[in-house]
Symmetry: C2
Subunit: 341 residues, 2 copies
Amino acid sequence: MPANLKDVAREAGLSPAAVSRHLNGSLDLPQETRARIEEAVQRLGYRPNPHARRLSLGRSDTITLIVPDIANPFFAALAATVERAASARGMIVQLHATSNLESREIAVLELAADHRSDGVVFCTNRRPGAAVAEAIAALPRAVIVDEAVPGASAPQVFADNAQGGYLAGRHLAEWRHRRVAYLGGDPMLMSTRQRAEGLERGLREGSEGAEVGVRILSGRHDVATGRALATALLDSGGDETAIFVGSDEIAIGVIETLRARGVRIPQDMSLISFDGARALHLYDPPITAVRQPARRLGERAVELLLDGDWDDRTLPELVEYLPVELVERASVAAPNTAEPG
Amino acid sequence: MPANLKDVAREAGLSPAAVSRHLNGSLDLPQETRARIEEAVQRLGYRPNPHARRLSLGRSDTITLIVPDIANPFFAALAATVERAASARGMIVQLHATSNLESREIAVLELAADHRSDGVVFCTNRRPGAAVAEAIAALPRAVIVDEAVPGASAPQVFADNAQGGYLAGRHLAEWRHRRVAYLGGDPMLMSTRQRAEGLERGLREGSEGAEVGVRILSGRHDVATGRALATALLDSGGDETAIFVGSDEIAIGVIETLRARGVRIPQDMSLISFDGARALHLYDPPITAVRQPARRLGERAVELLLDGDWDDRTLPELVEYLPVELVERASVAAPNTAEPG
DNA sequence: TGGATTTACTAAACCGATTTAGTAGACCTC
DNA sequence: GAGGTCTACTAAATCGGTTTAGTAAATCCA
């Protein structure tokens, strides 16, 4: 029903080729002819059919965004900037949520390939298997964001997890904490390892030779995991005086559990979160956190996708760490030495 | 480079038509022939080109989701269920953020039409003009969610705003509040009017004949608006003892401002929020809120889009209100009669 | 004035599916 | 053995663009 190129050409008394080439700027026409085309376009309300265009061009002017869960504020913030950056360039974004399922990850990566997506932004919370790395390698343009995909050949953009862990460690050490629990995601995750290492290093450097200890408990990045790990930590009767959590989601579960158990933050247990996508300054108590550059991550991914030199064979080896910052609030205090946690 | 239908046909010793029709189930072939096709598909790793398919079929197996801002937890939650429901049906979702700009709203609605989107889920925070209603009318399948579009011909799915306002009003009345401020979005918005009316009605019904008053201050649904309106309210020296806000975003700005001004919640000022997409139970104090069915809204929209009887001429007149609930926490208390707010 | 160049286009192939209308041959029936 | 029916397909048009290779006519240049 809508007018197509042929209609416009007929209306303007030209061939479809002439109209197409004029509209795409690959043909210089005299003023008078151009006017005829513009007028025909106006009169018929012509809008090119994007599917025909994509079929013909073999590309889709589309950015594919793959995240575990869009309801997670971190990924929502990232998605917001991906969308903004993409639409500013006339690109459309396709959104896929994987629920952290490998099968879904692979399925949507293959879909992106089928669609000749002009760029894929891939995020996962798991440590993906080789099949995911292969599916990514099959894409002409993809960037991996937030969590590493071992063996994948694509540029990667991360938060500076090691630095985040370090800042948390230093901060806790300054408050005289020596035993800290890290409650985070899968221990095989790059982010988990980097944060835990940074944490331990910061703790050590800030403790002036005192003995320090980091206990790692892991699960998934969700509220239920936060509850479960906090419960496990408390039940284990360890001597940790502070908790560093891997995400706001986990933090929520931890806070709920601590509160239910009557463990006061920060008097009985100090807490630092990692994310800062939520309004932690309004929490009770306001939660000290390492703020991840969620928006910047998304923006940078789109930049790489659209402005990167993809003929440069070294691009897929690029790894960037974007700066994080420690936002001090009120969930860290000196350990309560009176009683064991 | 990837194999196409013709390659598969050649490999199987058949015509492309036969292969296509078999793959789409419109042709019954003998077992042996079927096996030949399946094998060729396997061997060549054939995957249909979706753009060719779409061009040919005139549809796209795509749901278009249009929201003001995906970083807003309410829309993020809605998006999550839209994505889940859509992908469960083999549909892809295209995401557009409008930043509440009419020009963007119209542009993306037109894009959706160009793409022969199989369904559009449209959300706005503004009171859109006639041009938006027209752009929606031009779509074969669209549903309007969360906020009304005057004059649009499309099914609409809302939270039960009037009931939400009523519940808040009753609750405040029970705590002896008589003067309440509603800080919300544009007063021309259907949601604003419904909530304010419900609020007043609830307040009146709960106040046993006492005189009640509702003051409405409005702006946009964001944190900055919350700060500005709270400041205006406080500076105006009114006698309101409670604030009912139109969204968690506004609530955040209000809480920040109250805190900065030394106005205690709930001792000096009670507060009820509307949304509940955030972790309000961890706030200081835990914030009583009317919880919107964000996820259900998204789910219902996709249901209507995909299972609705679109031949039924009355469908575009459908209006549904999904139930809300009041979650009582600790931000409401009896008014402090000692001093004026 | 005749060949070379430039201007202003166009014919037709192509992207990769779907689908309508039909056909060749086997079998069945009377 | 003629006509009808059924089986197993296929030829070719179509969706609506883009692009390559080319052409007719006008202009330039010597």
